[in-house]
Subunit: 290 residues, 6 copies
């Protein structure tokens, strides 16, 4: 492919995205592999430089588990959700906010832009309430389990994001929320990314993960483009792998509430972010209203 053809293809996209807001969820390997993370940040900063308003949301489960082990504390999961007692919450906050979030902001500085690390209590960004006890099958018996300091998002106040984006900062958000009495709650990062994208009226929501996109039941084919209906049907049919369910649910939620385009792409392959945004065919799965 000739250089001029790549440019001719890319320039209209660059124009189209200029001044729009794109929320990028960083997850998977990027949270444990510094090289993968740095590549993603470098691409995100390029997007920032061509006039896109970039918001980053990150997870960090494996690092929390790791750090807890280091501190001699065992991680307990029920139905895929971490049981979060006060001590776990403190460790989670220290890892998510003091280590991962802070580290991403430093990488942004290294790439020549200016990031601002946030968690849900900064500017009352994410208000949540304690999640109701979950019904989980333990052995053969269904039980109600209280997950502790785990939250369900009630409301996202995007004011601080607008303030920062208007002043050309890249906000970096850790998945911690604040409750009505000022306490902290652990929240799911995929869900947070979707709710933030809706609140900030994002044009695109991009979930960077470890697989190439939404796959069919045989795990051999990646869907290039799905409508909300198709994506919902795939969810109902059980064709979507367990780990992918919250990601697909989150982007569907985004698109149903005003985000124009959602994408799920493999963040482990260098520059996938640029190729998804600036080429006609893209590299992952794009989900739109229809």
């Amino acid at each position: 492919m000739k250089r001029e053809d790549v440019l001719m293809e890319a320039l209209p996209y660059i124009q189209q995205f200029h001044g729009r807001t794109i929320v990028i969820k960083l997850g998977g390997h990027a949270m444990v592999d510094q090289v993968v993370l740095e590549n993603a940040i470098r691409d995100a900063v390029l997007l920032h430089y061509v006039g896109i308003r970039v918001v980053l949301v990150h997870g960090g489960g494996p690092e929390i588990t790791e750090k807890m082990k280091q501190m001699g504390k065992e991680s307990v999961f029920v139905g895929g959700l971490r049981v979060t007692d006060a001590e776990t919450l403190e460790i989670a906050q220290m890892v998510l906010v003091g280590k991962i979030n802070n580290g991403i902001v430093s990488l942004i500085a290294k790439c020549g832009a200016r990031g601002i690390g946030l968690s849900g209590n900064d500017g009352n960004l994410i208000i949540a309430r304690k999640m109701d006890p979950q019904k989980v099958k333990i052995g053969d018996v269904e039980q109600e389990v209280d997950l502790g300091h785990v939250g369900e998002i009630e409301w996202v106040d995007p004011s601080i994001l607008h303030t920062l984006l208007d002043n050309r900062y890249i906000p970096v958000i850790a998945p911690i929320a604040i409750d009505r009495s000022g306490g902290s709650l652990n929240i799911n990062a995929d869900t947070a990314a979707g709710d933030i994208a809706v609140a900030v009226k994002a044009y695109k929501l991009i979930n960077m993960t470890d697989v190439d996109g939404v796959m069919d039941a045989t795990r051999t084919k990646v869907y290039r483009k799905l409508s909300i209906d198709q994506a919902n049907n795939l969810l109902k049919s059980g064709a979507i792998g367990e780990g992918m369910v919250p990601k697909v649910t989150s982007v569907i939620n985004g698109v149903e509430n005003g985000v124009a385009f959602a994408h799920i792409i493999n963040g482990n392959i260098e520059h996938n972010l640029l190729l998804e945004l600036f080429t006609r065919d893209g590299v992952g799965t794009m989900i739109t209203v229809k």
Copy 2:
């Protein structure tokens, strides 16, 4: 070359040029070959779309000659300059403003942007005074020849350009000036482009012509990059072909008065404008302070 590499190379340039003003001189074949012109306009509109403030300046000598012939009037040149009596001036204005300029504006509309055609009397854009009689060798005798309604630029008032660019219009300028008493004067388009670039504080001045750039005396090698000193030396050494002299003089003048980068490129090759701007090596000659 991989797509992502082209993008990685181009994006920083796109960022760097965003919001900057670039003056493009359209000349040569583009003035007579509709396909070449349309390609140039399409690329210029792409630049406009990625946030560059684009100003177009055009010539039109061959079309004037053609139209004069059609109207049974002979063109007279002295020392490369057209002798311009009142009738010739009227024809020149009709061709430059009523045909070529108007046609470029229509092409811009066709490419999806909005152009505004201007000549030097619009908003008192270009003030000139009648050129002094030129000393020319006719046969063996040096004679003073009055060129008629031919002007030398005194002052460019860029206000209307700022007004239009701030409102996202592409100004298209014909090489006609106004004198202090409201009369019209024919001016050299290359010179006009240079003076306009200086007045509008352009970041770049690009002269699109029919050759690949500034060549050495053997006409085999194109200089990729010249400092002002080098370019001036080439001019003095006589190595630069006659047709290229006003172009090189104009871009040197631009760079000496504040334009950061000047380029001479071959406009006949599709997308040369994009390649010159968005690749590291470019395709023509770039002239800078040093």
Copy 3:
């Protein structure tokens, strides 16, 4: 009449018109008689100076016919409309845009203000579509005649006019439109003036012509003031001379769509423009809603 009485009478009008937009159609002798034109422009510039936002629209039929004759091409009219083949269109554009329009802008400069020449393709100002073939009686037989590149206005986008007026330029508009595919079309200047006045939300539309206003069937009395109903009745009754019909139709259209006052005045008498605007009785015909 005492000076102070003229002033006492004029000052409230000056106040009333301050900051309002007035569209002036220049036609008739002014298009061929340089002195008449210059007088009209001088008055228009005075209006500009007392804070009125002035828009000029001009015609140019006779000059086109003249220039075509000069180029050995015959003008063909069907039902009062010029049959416009490609060559005729090119000549019309060169005359209207390159000569008349450009000349008016130079006169404005001479009077100390700043004009900007526009035709319909500048900033997509006037979008038109090719006129349907017209039914015309040729001899005794009614025939459908294709008029060629003649347009009917579909839409006027006043953005560029607001941009220019806000920055204290006087826009001067030639009666050429652009079609949806970027081609040019010849349009009627009276109609254009009316549609532009509506689009730009003008306070007044003034048609300067060669007669003293709308006259009764005997051609002896000028109506000072007509309501839309009265004007429409005159049109229907056939009392209005053929040449005046498009002018009256255009101003009625203007008033029906929001222009507060329309005037038809004799542009050949010096300062009629000032007297119509700044005296109680005026000098021509004023048409209002009722």
Copy 4:
């Protein structure tokens, strides 16, 4: 004292401070006693509410030591400064940013205002370079000791603070800086508060600590008011206790570089912040140019 007298005394101060910036350093007990901290935050939020632009800077040494002990790692101090290897730095960041800073932001939310937690890498707020090895007497021998990831502030960029204050957020700053290559460095919180106060052109710098102000050598009398010269003399005379030295040095630095008033007050006594600001006599030590 009558209510109205308190009001009469306080209102002029309230007016005087309106719209001014005040940097408050939180330290001592407030970092370990949640009640003391909460009282300080409540008063700071009141200041915010009467129109003062409040910036908070906090320390956290004791908590870091505590957390390190918990993780089985010993704290090493040389000449009063913590030797900071990579692991120590990581723990310090997690405690300062993920726990203390985050906790203060939550308390602000609880008091009804909106805080934003920052460390030095957010928006490139604090740029530092690695501190040179320190000459320390160990036993009888003076040795050069490399303190590891400990920084000396080079430059404070207050842009993000202005952005946040203009939008009515309370910035809360942890004493972590970023170096030129994107790495993190531990910095002294008192020094940071002084440099931030200078960079943000603060009107006042208030250091809240565990003692009642600057005391004389007998530790019985608190100086109410000191000029820079007096404070410098006290420093030289050795009359100032070791723990107080960096605090006094920092506020002198602030006042010498444009901060109008610096205060050292006892943060352990409820509402001392209000009494220092809104009463004629105050409660601690005020340091001014003279």
Copy 5:
């Protein structure tokens, strides 16, 4: 009571009132006792300084009576209203505008702020019409009495108040209105204060008078807080003293039309204005919607 407690109590009120408009009616002793007046102005200027938009409205009946006596003219009252012939009106205007109003503005200057004296004709602030003849019992006979130049307010145009308040001036308003033909009318100051408070969308209306608030029929107890219904009932029951009736009516009218809080306080006791606004219990009667 401790200083810090007074501050803790006052600061939230100061914040709450910041940027809000408060209309203060000055009456009673303040109009004849320079010390009482000066105390009131000093407190009002303090309110201005903590960011409250202060509007002052004053009366002046006793001074008019006094000045009339001095000029050998008797004051005639019918049903509590001054019969105002042309000469009385002239004297009233001279006293209210040229003496009292002017004097208050000078006191404001003395306290360090900038006042602007207004009467109803300034900027067409208060438009009134002549009051209908009043039915009054004279002796045993009910008669219609024409009160002369006494007006009933029709309309308050708050534009000039906004202009002045936005530029940090304190408007001082005399109870004189203008009628539709440009004549002056005497109006009741309490009523004027209420109508101005409504027009300027005041947050509070404070009537400073000679008694401690609204009292019960026994004149021993002051009501601290009344709803509109309660106040209306008191009015109907006749429990409210004659002099207090127009004051209570005016504040009820204010609250019914959008003023959030109305207060009646004793202006003769120093600093009552501050205590009413900045303490929880206040010192007079507060009237709210319910």
Copy 6:
């Protein structure tokens, strides 16, 4: 003279004065003859309507004398200046502010514009200090006489004038000043007009009086145009009548300090204000730098 000629002559002046500030001193008969005053106000409002920023300054000596007589108090003049004891000052203020000033504002309302009455204490507009005792010949003996509350202008703060003019109000100023301790002082109205014109950077200062302009010693010829030097020489030569001296001194002062043009015209002749401003020859005396 033909209407169009009057218009052609007037329109450039109207344009020239648009947005400029003109200070008009009203004096002489206008202060006692309601018809003359009303004519002057009507013309001033017309100026306001064509975009001029109009400031009115008035005198009122005869009315004060009249009112004092009415109140049984004799007026005492020393060297042409009124001896002003406390009682006289009070009467002067009541007449100037409460009657004349207030009356002019009502006339402005009647003419359809909005005036705001001011005296020197409004917005600290005119700061003065008590005039030093004057040396006056009483009989044959030169004595020092203390004139009482008579002031010399120290400083004019034009802020309130800009605020009002920017919001399209006409300020009307009475010749009362405020001293540094908040007391009032009587000042000369001609002097005040000149100082205000300088402070507000007026383009013109117009003194409307009872004579046709500055006359020569024979009192038969009016000077049409004087330079400052010529005017000063006339003053020195004693050719200027006593009553005219303060007026000429005031306008010279204005022109020497930045007012472009000063005029002295006869206010008793209707529309002289318009004729002076909008005709080439004018009707009174114009004084300029040279």
